[in-house]
Symmetry: C2
Subunit: 217 residues, 2 copies
DNA sequence: TGTAATGTTTACCAACCGGTCAAATTATCA
DNA sequence: TGATAATTTGACCGGTTGGTAAACATTACA
């Protein structure tokens, strides 16, 4: 017998757990930076600190690695949206959703880029996840937003496009990081851009750009 | 002598013009769908309807093709921002910038994805363009926006993050098209999503989500 | 401790990649 | 028309890719 892991034995050995962990961490690093096609198994093996055949002992193909990675990351990636609470104060909920998404862009940019790469190239490996669990979750939360609007608690707006707008504005800071840095220049190279972004986005989504009632200079 | 085109003769033959056109069109198709590393010269040659060596007669390397493509596309891509007019009505200018960017996402999604792919992977080929012409243009327009805010014509806000927000929300509909379609589902599969998006974004950027003065149900 | 299962390595392969070359073909124009 | 330059092609090359085979080493456990 030559098959690895849980394929036949239900039990996982200690080594299996450690190695698979290291491999997926390395795969995240490489896939998120180069996309699926642009990544090589050798690269991942080197980052993981093991030989290519050894890596392929745990994940039989490059695709299997990618799938395992997607499955593991997708759940945590959607957590902020799940926390969206129908009972809370609408504006406060939206505000804190934006904040959480922005924190994820700051703290987990690789996960963001992993999905961005995938979706950008037509989502060949995650089409089912998009049309299934993702759509279901968005549908659910869109209904919540629609109810808020109907009750007059927030302005009437298309809830789906609101969610898209929050996704795109926040993930922009992870996915297009080099562009953001290039445009902001050396001066704003520190992490302060995330605080500026948070201030701007909270204000944008809540008040818009129209001059509001509070006195302006 | 074996060198093609303008490398030695200043004059371009009729065939040169036609073939280079076909090649760049094919390159846009392939690069935008697969990224630089994920694309092969054979793919581009097939889409262009010619043999690989023939293609390489006009562009000596894959990189040369990519660079020529970037150079050609970048200019037109930045046109909407250039049209941004300091003399116009601030809110109207921002509104029409959003509309133009959204139209480009609808009509030129390949160009959008070409840059998205490039930036997402660290902009290895266009770093100079980002830090040079792009930054200069953004700096200029940011100053315009800052002046508007100072004059009390729009709400005070960080002009750079405003531009990022407009870029990300509009380009989202090109770059993440499959995701948008998957979430909206079959019903909204038509092009109507761009009109919905336009309505939503104009409203978002101008009014925000707060319930405004006009009577709500 | 012995042995069977698990893990690791070296050597390797076929397919594919970007790119070259020389020969053949076609367009240009004096 | 003929000769010269421009274009096109098929055969090929060295390097890289994802993946395999089998020998070897280590671990777990009765």
């Amino acid at each position: 017998m030559v098959l690895p892991r849980a394929a036949r034995t239900q039990r996982r050995t200690r080594i299996q757990g450690e190695k698979e962990e290291r491999i997926l961490e390395a795969a995240l690093e490489v896939f998120s930076a180069n996309g699926f096609r642009g990544s090589t198994v050798d690269q991942i093996a080197e980052v993981a600190g093991m030989s290519k055949p050894n890596l392929l002992y745990y994940f039989r193909t490059k695709e299997a690695m990618h799938r395992a990675l997607i499955d593991r990351v997708l759940d945590t990636w959607l957590d902020p949206l799940r926390e969206f609470n129908a009972e809370g104060n609408p504006v406060a909920e939206i505000r804190s959703y934006i904040r959480r998404k922005l924190e994820m862009a700051r703290d987990y940019p690789r996960e963001s880029r992993l999905f961005a790469n995938e979706v950008l190239q037509g989502a060949p490996h995650i089409e089912d996840e998009l049309k299934g669990p993702l759509k279901a979750l968005v549908d659910e939360k869109a209904e919540v937003i629609r109810a808020w609007a109907k009750a007059g608690k927030i302005a009437k707006c298309d809830p789906y496009h609101l969610i898209f707008a929050i996704w795109s504005t926040t993930q922009h800071y992870a996915d297009f990081d080099v562009q953001v840095r290039a445009v902001l220049g050396q001066g704003n190279a520190g992490e302060g851009r995330f605080e500026d972004a948070a201030r701007f986005l909270e204000r944008l989504f809540v008040d818009g750009l129209q001059v509001s009632e509070q006195p302006t200079v």
